[in-house]
């Protein structure tokens, strides 16, 4: 199994997911290798809540129906734990494809605003400070919907009292350079 496993391993990383999605005829690569065994779905802890399971999404991709996969919103439930990728007997980068769907869904206008705000608020603090800043994240995440913050009050106060959340922002010397990395990534990937 050893030698074959190595060549299959490398198929994970030959193309970025966007390129794989863009060129559907990459035969012998990635999701086209999937033979629908369902080990990915069996390994997925959030599959129970998905409209399309990972196996079904691989199938939709093979059929060129990725828009349905994106609209189904299942990508938002991927925790990027990589269990499906580790276990796939065909060496398909299932997690990379699931998160590619996730990116597409989050970029859509009709994406669940609460989840979209979660991703934006989290990354914005990293862009601004180089590290995650809990307090600023909570403000950004809950500001448009303060009622939701009420549900978090008990935990928030506990964390504050136990010294786990501080108002002081983290300090990284290369913060400007890291912010520039964010801009460069958007430029290369053609994101607004």
């Amino acid at each position: 199994m050893g030698a074959q496993a190595n060549t299959v391993d490398k198929a994970w990383t030959l193309h970025t997911p966007e390129r794989v999605l863009a060129a559907r005829d990459l035969v012998g690569n990635d999701f086209s290798l999937c033979y629908q065994c369902g080990l990915c779905t069996g390994s997925c802890r959030t599959a129970y809540a998905m409209k399309y399971t990972p196996r079904q999404i691989m199938n939709l991709l093979q059929l060129g129906r990725e828009d349905e996969a994106v609209a189904g919103g299942s990508g938002l439930l991927c925790t990027a734990c990589f269990s499906c990728t580790f276990r796939c007997p065909r060496g398909v980068a299932v997690t990379d494809m699931m998160t590619a769907i996730q990116r597409r869904t989050l970029a859509e206008k009709h994406a669940d605003p609460h989840i979209r705000r979660f991703y934006r608020a989290f990354l914005r603090t990293v862009e601004r400070h180089g590290r995650f800043h809990e307090a600023e994240f909570l403000v950004r995440y809950y500001a448009p919907n303060p009622l939701r913050l009420r549900d978090e009050l008990r935990l928030g106060l506990t964390l504050l009292m136990k010294g786990k959340v501080t108002l002081k922002a983290p300090k990284v010397k290369s913060q400007k350079g890291i912010a520039a990395m964010f801009r460069k990534a958007a430029e290369i990937e053609g994101r607004p």
Binding site: W12, T13, L14, H15, T16, P17, E18, R45, T46, A49, L76, L77, T79, A80, C81, F82, S83, F86, D96, T99, A100, Q102, R103, L106, H114, I115, F118, Y119, R120, F122, L123, V126, G130, R131, F132, E134, Y141, L155, T158, L159, K162, G163, K164, V165, T166, P170, V172, K173, S174, G177, I178, A180, M181, F182, K184, A185, A186, I188, E189, R191
Partner: protein
Amino acid sequence: MKYVYYPGCSASGTSKEAEESLQAAMRALGVEWTELEDWNCCGAAVAIGTSYLLSLALPARNLALAERAESDLVTGCSRCFMNLIRAVHYTHENASVREEVNELLAETGVQYSGKARLRHLLDVIINDVGLDVVAERVTQPLDGLRVAPYYGCCQGMWTYAQFDSTEDPHCFDQLLATLGAEVVDYRLKTACCGGTLSMSRRSVGARLIGDLLAAADDADCIVTACPLCLFNLNSFQREAGKIKGTHFNIPVLFLTQIMGMAFGLPKKALGLQRHVVPVDGLYEKIAAGAAVSSSAASASGAR
């Protein structure tokens, strides 16, 4: 032994006790750590939802910093480990990804060539320090304490494949047994805790946490190898209990906290006062366990 260490945002924030206890336990074992200078967030499970390139370049910057310091990199966070090792593999296998990642890294004045090796804390403790050295340091064995090791998903096969079974790892069990604990085996020990779903979609995140807590319910406490799992399993027991129709009250500790307890280190140095679910009851259980085993020892001695 000298290491450059990457704490990550979770261990330096909402799971501060992981960081505090890690420093204390490593000092007790005589391991020298320096924190990676000017480290940045690895992107958690969030960067990947926005940008494929950032999900590789953010962790790669930390590897580049380690490379500049001419050192291997150790992390005690499985989520960070997963992102870092993914950056190692993907930039190694794919020249165009490597080029684009380095194009991003150039913005902060560093480059990553793939030289820095990545290690997980559990790997370092078991394979570099060694269980015999850990055993020598134990002054307060965890007699009678039933402990469930939670390996989590994120170290995945890339770590365990080097020294343990990938689907059914046992290295953590051996560490806990060395501390004198009774190890509780349970299904889901390598299943995902939901990561950031506890924040982005609470109903699903809490169910995953609830399933895990229920599976390990037989134990006196759960011990994690990841600060993010530590935060999740500690903070959402109420919500998880509601979904599972029960009430959870299981102490959840980080692996260096339980090591520190067995080493007899002060509670405060291990950050034990920071837990959402109080852990004080564990000391009583250990004392009771010690009394049982010493009376058993004297009884067998009398015979």
